[in-house]
Amino acid sequence: MSIGHTLLGLLEAGPRHGYDLKRAFDEKFGHDRPLAYGQVYSTMSRLLKNGLVEVDGIESGGGPDRKRYAITDAGITDVETWLSQPEKPDPYLHSTLYTKVVLALLTGRRADELLDTQRAEHLRLMRVLTTRKRKGDLADQLVCDHALFHLEADLRWLELTAARLGQLAQEVRR
């Protein structure tokens, strides 16, 4: 999952300090793995270098890093592209997808579109696997079936999430 895109997405709601960014990230996505300061710092430097964020101001008074970051237009476009691009279906996709959905909701983008896009991608892969399975031998069938069942589970999650988008939106925006 892309921490850079996530932090960019969080910035889209308004300029924030690095510390705020970390807190927001941990609150929404870092349930089990809080972000290290260093990682925020290095990621923001990279984003700054690529012109996706800019420094909005530096607060006076103690503290190691009191820089306030704001997202640039290029940064917004980058988030947009990332969100609308389906992820390559893979078994442990959910954290990325979840992040994307929450960010889409946070930034007022169409989360349902995002989910449908992902579904189409999953289905496409399932069709490919099904075709391979039909034409292959038993070993192919078993391998493909393994993947198919995982993809099916993802799709169920997508379906369920799509059905609960309204609820989720309320929760995220609180």
Partner: protein
């Protein structure tokens, strides 16, 4: 929006209400000859209603359904029945085989309805039962065979008249995965070899994966997954 060119069966802006419940609210659909299209969606989304409308079983309240250049909504009940007898085939979830008739008689039934002689109808029926690998069950009654076998008999029945479109409404809904896979494999293969299009209503993605394309119905509106991205 108009139907895509070259489609065998296409519907635009279908609306259908059952009482105050809106089952279809501007749904679109199209299928090419020989294409397998899965119609997916949660329960109550209107996917079965879409199938019923497309097959001419239920007339929509408004909208247009064009099959091979004919507007279905302007046909009367007898004409639509005749169309279903000759051009369409049907597979449902369960309860579609006449329990008193033997399997081969069940498969031969659509042919006999179009006036084919009994002997000949049953010969054709046996041919299709071989395709579906159920030729041994000819003399048995539906109550004496398993669910998967019953669905394969039903698929044979749907194919027996050489239809151009097969409508399958949750054909694997009552089956376990292995039997479901088998039915789907045989159904799609037989349909492809007969160049019959299949409208496949299902809520199972693994079943839908046997299609060439998916359409998702949600709250009575359809969405062609192919056109995303």
């Amino acid at each position: 929006m108009t139907a895509p060119a070259g489609s065998l069966l296409a519907a635009t802006d279908l609306r259908k209400a059952y009482g105050s419940t809106l089952a279809l609210d501007g749904a679109e659909f199209s299928i090419h000859a020989g294409e397998v299209v899965a119609v997916m969606g949660p329960s109550g989304s209107g996917k079965s209603t879409l199938l019923h409308c497309l097959a001419g079983i239920v007339p929509p309240d408004s909208g247009s359904i064009v099959y091979a250049g004919r507007e279905l909504t302007s046909l009367d009940d007898a004409e639509r029945s005749a169309l279903r007898r000759t051009e369409f085939g049907f597979v449902f979830q369960f309860g579609q085989l006449v329990p008193e008739l033997t399997c081969v008689e069940n498969v031969a039934l659509p042919l006999r309805l179009t006036g084919v002689k009994r002997k000949e109808a049953e010969r054709t029926a046996l041919h299709w039962m071989e395709q579906l690998q159920v030729e041994d069950l000819g003399a048995k009654r539906p109550g004496e065979i398993s669910g998967g076998q019953g669905q394969r008999v039903a698929v044979a029945r749907a194919l027996v008249t050489g239809p151009r479109v097969i409508f399958a409404d949750e054909p694997t809904g009552a089956l376990d995965s292995l039997n479901g896979e088998l039915v789907m494999q045989l159904l799609t293969e037989a349909a492809r070899s007969a160049n019959a299009a299949v409208v496949l209503v299902t809520h199972e993605t693994r079943v839908a994966a046997y299609s060439d394309r998916e359409i998702v119905v949600r709250d009575g509106r359809s969405r062609d997954m192919e056109r995303i991205v």
